[in-house]
Symmetry: C2
């Protein structure tokens, strides 16, 4: 019906998380309708990102410099390393502005189903970083999923030989959360971890 | 936190229909994670589309040639022109393979709210095409919305001076549709347009 150029564009857009085949078609048409304001700037932004953005060889964060601005930041606390699954989790914690230490991005979680083993994640590098004398605490901030917690257990075992203190995020009732809508696991965790007021 | 390159990419992705700020962030990270398989091919596909895809000056369809492959198609029936709002609607009718004539893309609908008047749509060009001796029928295939039907009425008036027959799509029960879930307007239209079996 139309040339292969549009089909290729639609198929690539459909690979983006959040876009299916139908919305990818709408997105492609929208791009072609807004050539100057959307299509060309997006093509340029992609080129620029491909050229400039690098993965930090220390922590796995994405930035235009290596080591990244967090690893190189003079105001960051070097005694704490927060371990996350993905860069998106690092960004989420940065948005909260509740942590001033440094990070370590594992690049995923252990998953027998998807064939992801310890060698596929940045665990050896974490153990190496944890062995540095200035590092006092490793905070495990994996997702509260089965895979995330399995990975956290494994990382804890691997860190047993080092001198660092290993901690994990608290489980409990989310701020603003209603008890009636919470799952039993979260309620149980929140009850067990109750604190005196 | 990160350079402006990622922020620009996220903001442009968030402008695509179907992607909000949150999913645009996920899409940007996914693109950076799959540089060779997704980011670079997408950048190339966008460049290629910007360079090759043109709007057909006859009907408004998108193609790599002008007139487009439908307008230039030797097997298409030149006596029928199907008028649609957008290229996406043209594609939808082409997928059904139920129409072998040619198309006319208006490029939108009349909307006082959005400030879209008759001169913003490809209506003058349609009247011009309808005046050609080989054209016998204009099929109005606008969406069954208030704006779509207002536009259909307006186009019908504008075509009054020509010799063509103006028809519109039938309203009725969608194939596979259950009566209990249909709105009253559709049921009324289906009842009024009932046919003997």
């Amino acid at each position: 019906m139309t040339g292969p150029e549009i089909e290729t564009l639609i198929q690539l857009l459909a690979k983006l998380p959040g876009l299916g085949p139908r919305s990818a078609r709408r997105a492609a048409l929208d791009l072609l309708k807004k050539r100057e304001t959307l299509l060309k700037p997006l093509a340029e932004a992609l080129d620029l990102a491909a050229e400039r953005i690098v993965t930090c060889t220390t922590c796995g964060n994405l930035d235009t410099i290596d080591p990244c601005s967090i690893c190189a930041g003079a105001k960051r606390d070097v005694s704490q390393i927060c371990v996350v699954e993905e860069v998106a989790d690092l960004w989420a914690i940065e948005r909260s502005a509740a942590f001033r230490g440094r990070y370590h991005v594992l690049g995923g979680v252990l998953s027998a189903l998807d064939g992801v083993g310890p060698e596929d994640l940045s665990i050896a590098r974490l153990v190496e970083r944890a062995s540095a004398s200035e590092v006092k605490e490793i905070i495990l901030a994996m997702n509260a999923t089965v895979e995330g917690q399995t990975t956290a257990h494994y990382v804890t075992d691997r860190l047993a030989g080092t001198q660092v203190q290993v901690t994990r995020l608290a489980h409990g009732v989310p701020v603003g959360g209603e008890l009636d809508y919470l799952d039993d696991g979260t309620l149980t965790a929140a009850l067990r971890a109750r604190r005196s007021v």
